[in-house]
């Protein structure tokens, strides 16, 4: 317990001081925070519940569009804003910007949660790969459809409000870094606390055998929907922050980017080890380093390298880093090994 407190304090201190220690990597660090949030929330479905979703990108993209539209729409006509594109006719005052961002983030988190609750009953009744393909379809459909809606920029994209001129040059990066770090801390606390309750056991029961869980009197559908809604909440929040950070929203390349972000969150969780609390965090960090390395060293070939990476991870490390460690050092994970039992099993073989 004591060790944990030291660890958390160290991480918290590192998180708060990071933008000042590595001022050049502020944007990268903020993206890392968002990626960790996405990986952790995907892990609720994929890791704990056994429902491999490609569709969490839906909530991420929705959050992105909602946050930006609310931020603009609160003060200016939305249609004229998107029409003017890059040349800004309207300028947010600092007050308006922060107010809009705050309200926008609330919308970005709440509305995807409601939508997740509404569609949850029908989508979560599917199982296995039907669920995976269905959610993949949802994500891509959302991207294609939002690419046809005029008021949010259609095919040409949507520029989010530029950061107001306050507090010098560095303030934009710091603002978004701390915002995403705050989201990360919130998500971590929320997910850690739900993982220590009965809720996690129910999710694991669903993963291991849903029919049996249902036969034991667990209302599996209810818990599946709640888990999906928690994911949607943080995905939407992460999307809203990412939209402001990137500064430009395109329907298929930034928001509903099922081919990239939608797969990244799956990969990050798998790389770190799905079904663990720390796995997605470690996986996201490693993956981000890999990805930035690819983008720097294989410029132009980064997607090729990425495709190879996906295949290699999936084939050779399906259990991820935490899974590997768990196999090596089971005692550290609180698994008790009965030596006599193991010997008996070896003899049987």
């Amino acid at each position: 317990m004591n060790k944990n407190i030291i660890l958390y304090t160290a991480i918290l201190i590192f998180g708060i001081t990071a933008p000042f220690i590595f001022p050049a990597f502020k944007v990268q660090l903020s993206i890392l925070c968002v990626l960790i949030v996405l990986a952790m929330t995907w892990n609720i479905q994929g890791g704990e519940m056994g429902y491999n979703s490609f569709g969490n990108i839906l909530f991420y993209g929705l959050g992105m569009y909602l946050c930006a539209s609310v931020q603009v729409g609160m003060f200016f006509p939305l249609a004229e804003w998107t029409e003017s594109g890059g040349e800004k006719t309207f300028v947010h005052t600092p007050n308006q910007f922060f107010q809009g961002m705050a309200v926008g983030l609330v919308f970005a988190a709440v509305i995807p949660t409601i939508i997740a609750g509404l569609i949850g009953y029908s989508i979560l009744g599917l199982r296995g790969h039907y669920f995976a393909i269905c959610t993949l379809g949802l994500g891509v459909a959302a991207g294609e459809i939002s690419g046809g809606i005029e008021i949010i920029g259609a095919g040409q994209g949507f520029t989010t409000p530029p950061f107001p001129d306050v507090g010098g040059l560095e303030s934009r990066g710091e603002f978004f870094y701390f915002l995403s770090f705050l989201a990360l801390v919130l998500a971590f606390i929320a997910i850690k606390s739900i993982y220590s309750t009965r809720f996690k056991l129910i999710l694991n029961a669903i993963r291991d055998n849903e029919d049996k869980a249902e036969a034991m009197g667990i209302e599996t559908m209810k818990y599946k929907i709640i888990g999906w809604m928690i994911s949607a909440f943080f995905c939407g929040l992460a999307g809203g922050i990412m939209g402001g950070l990137v500064g430009y929203i395109d329907s298929t390349d930034v928001a509903f980017d099922g081919r990239e972000m939608g797969v990244f969150m799956v990969l990050m969780a798998i790389l770190g080890g799905k079904g663990t609390l720390w796995g997605p965090i470690i996986g996201a960090t490693l993956f981000h380093i890999f990805k930035e390395g690819f983008w720097t060293f294989f410029l132009g070939w980064q997607y090729v390298a990425l495709g190879v990476l996906i295949v290699v991870i999936v084939i050779y490390f399906p259990e991820g880093l935490m899974g590997y460690l768990r196999e090596k050092f089971p005692e550290k994970f609180g698994e008790v090994i009965d030596e006599a039992d193991r010997k008996a099993q070896v003899e049987l073989k």
Partner: protein, 288 residues
């Protein structure tokens, strides 16, 4: 008139979809693998025909050449990746083929450029009903060729030794292995045949429609949809639902506008899955 036009277009398009879906049903049934890279194989097949066109050969020959090349591409993919995921969880195969899909997409983007291209067959057009319905002959050609290929394949699967081995493996891989079928070889051949079918379809698509490195995923989703609507191993069903999907798409295109065409396909997939989920839940069953 527009209705007849859309229906005819849709049916001719749907035959092509059915051909791709047949490949997917084959590998799904035999190897229990969902191949997300299916669409990218189609596009690769299309580029083979397009390159023949660029070098002055009539692209219709692509229908012969492209499946031969694609067969070896398919066997290569099987040897490198798929044989490691065959016995594993289906989700692993989905992710692995997703990786292949990204890889192919990008390699094609480097090799052939990001332009939308088509191979001009120069077949002219047919006018029906006082020129109110316009049908390019290439579409009719592609439908006829796909039907011929499908019939050949069905006969091959019924009569040949390999076809029997494939069907035996699909029924029970373990029993087939005991009875002396080299399942590893059968799997490789199945994946190769699937890739070859994609090659034919791709060559036809490059003649009748357009191809682009990033257009693969919709073809995967369409074939997946056709297979789940029809069921595995139900050939007439695959053909019918393929044509139905083609007609649906043409109407969606006409009624909603071209920008919503792909979106409506993906939404239809979600709706079909949800419909099946409710239909099955009444019997307390679930999709397996």
């Amino acid at each position: 008139m527009i209705t007849i036009q859309a229906c005819l277009d849709g049916v001719l398009l749907g035959v092509l979809f059915a051909l791709i879906a047949y490949g997917m049903a084959l590998q799904w049934g035999v190897m229990n693998i969902i191949n997300i890279a299916q669409g990218d194989l189609v596009i690769l097949g299309g580029y083979i025909a397009y390159f023949m066109y660029l070098y002055g050969i009539h692209p219709a020959w692509g229908v012969i050449v492209s499946p031969i090349i694609m067969y070896f591409v398919g066997v290569g993919i099987y040897k490198l990746v798929i044989n490691k995921v065959v016995d594993r969880d289906l989700f692993i195969s989905i992710l692995a083929t997703f990786g292949i899909s990204i890889l192919f997409m990008q390699l094609m983007n480097f090799a052939f450029g990001a332009d939308v291209v088509l191979a001009n067959s120069g077949y002219g057009t047919t006018f029906l009903f006082d020129s109110n319905v316009v049908l390019p002959n290439s579409k009719i050609f592609s439908a006829v060729v796909s039907i011929v290929f499908a019939i050949c394949l069905v006969i091959y699967m019924k009569k040949s030794k390999l076809g029997r081995a494939i069907r035996a493996t699909a029924q029970n891989a373990r029993a087939a292995k005991i009875l002396g079928v080299d399942t590893e070889k059968v799997y490789a051949a199945t994946f190769g045949i699937n890739a070859a079918l994609c090659g034919v379809a791709g060559a036809l698509i490059s003649i009748t429609f357009t191809i682009h490195p990033y257009m693969g995923l919709p073809y995967t989703i369409r074939s997946f949809m056709i297979v789940i609507v029809a069921g595995l191993g139900n050939l007439p069903g695959v053909a019918m639902s393929g044509m139905g999907l083609g007609v649906f798409e043409e109407f969606a295109d006409y009624l909603l506008g071209t920008e919503f065409r792909i979106g409506s396909v993906f939404l239809l997939l979600v709706l079909i899955l949800v419909y099946r989920r409710f239909k099955l839940s009444r019997k307390r069953e679930y999709l397996k």
